[in-house]
Symmetry: C2
Subunit: 244 residues, 2 copies
DNA sequence: GTATGACCAGAAATGCATTTTGGGTCATGT
DNA sequence: ACATGACCCAAAATGCATTTCTGGTCATAC
């Protein structure tokens, strides 16, 4: 799916499966040891392939890592879409925020990306904050708030960009505060998520409740747009080392 | 005021003033260079006194720093009390939150303390997260939320400890997100503060608005309690090196 | 055509001798 | 008394030679 550099035909299933296995291995290792401490040889060994095989799939360690990040982003986005479609409150900020955060908490790599965790991201983060995965997210969210305000799923009496910023700040605080809060006083995570969602609903939802269906559609569309954006960006540089 | 180890009489004005000047110098230096990079000699030079003089006031560099932190905390608390007394919305979470955050944003040292900024706090933070200034704050806030709920300035339909945690998380996110948010998209600070306060009001204030006067009184009392707590704790270990 | 792993070179880590730094003290001066 | 700054010494920083590591390549094997 996400790895399509195989010329003009359909993705080679064998190759694609192996690429996936390699990314699985990389994910396991990097989540635990961080980008710096996991070597390409480690990944190869963990995946049960040779080091050379890895360079048959990606030009460099960096590109492997970015492919991994892309895959995980795709997963999260996909899951988000499914959740929104399946769940009745999918179109409300209530459901949206709660699910958006949970999916990040459950995905160590996305968690690290969202918090710029230097321990996990290591040199990659230090070198280049250039990946669109690092920055375009806020654009996407800005647009989402704007459109959600247009269909009155979010109240329009406050500036959309400020709302976006505040939402980001809450998300960031949610993901990072454990570093400074007395550990024995942290309430259960799901209680926090649920309460936070309720507060957000009160603060941002209009009286009537707005057009949920429209909200749902907007978020799905935007998520899809984000996916093609990421995919396209990746496609332009995730070329194979050989056979152009 | 805060430095009262001078035996039984009133604080020695000359000595106390000089201590203040030294702390001023220390603040200036540490805000800029961080705890590790500012030496005791630097502080002495900046304050225009000899190194030995500093050890006439405090037993160690650590204690000087903690005295500084205490002084700044006292200032902030004092200002908070004054603001609450002077301002009509002093007793509401609206005003409370807004002012509480502004006072931290305006005080580099308190900002560093609230965010555990290793660049500023340096070795002191690394060695001991033992100072009550580091931990007791959350206790204080927990109690505040509890009492505010009791007089219905904060709605009682959600768990107080979770609310406290969420408030802390928002504050922390507010103070730290700039590290990961695209710099050119950060809205003006006061717009964010104001909007955030409005959202909080909507999310946490009851229909009627609750008893503002009672809210005001509670916060003032608690702030005062916090002050004597800090003062007392400091008093038991901020003894002079000689003349006990 | 595809996979492998020994191999390469630059970068990073290690070990160690040497120098500098910086809390903290105290003999001396006022 | 009180203030000073030269002085002390452990700890940290520096410089440097040597070793290890590791991203990336490619001759060889299948």
């Amino acid at each position: 799916m996400w790895s399509r550099w195989k010329g003009d035909g359909l993705p080679d299933d064998n190759s694609s499966q192996r690429a996936d296995r390699i990314l699985d291995a990389a994910a396991r290792l990097i989540e635990h040891y961080g980008y710096d401490k996991t070597t390409v040889s480690d990944i190869a060994a963990e995946a049960g392939v040779s080091k050379g095989a890895i360079y048959l799939h990606w030009k460099s360690k960096d590109e492997l890592f970015e492919a991994l990040l892309l895959r995980e982003s795709m997963h999260v986005l996909e899951e988000l879409i499914q959740h929104i479609e399946a769940h009745p409150d999918g179109g409300t900020i209530f459901g949206l925020f709660q699910y958006g955060i949970i999916s990040i908490v459950n995905n160590p790599l996305m968690h690290a990306l969202a918090t710029r965790d230097a321990r996990v991201l290591g040199d990659w983060a230090r070198r280049g904050a250039n990946s669109p995965m690092m920055n375009e997210g806020s654009m996407f969210r800005k647009e989402m708030v704007r459109q959600l305000q247009a269909v009155n799923v979010i109240r329009s009496d406050l500036d959309g960009d400020v709302i976006t910023y505040i939402l980001a700040l809450i998300r960031y605080g949610f993901l990072t505060i454990h570093e400074v809060y007395p550990a024995d006083q942290i309430p259960p995570l799901d209680a926090v998520g649920k309460t936070l969602a309720i507060l957000l609903e009160r603060a941002l939802a209009p009286e009537g409740g707005g057009d949920r269906e429209a909200g749902r559609q907007i978020v799905i569309n935007l998520a899809q747009q984000m996916r093609v954006f990421l995919q396209h960006w990746m496609g332009t540089k995730d070329k194979p080392p050989t056979q152009g």
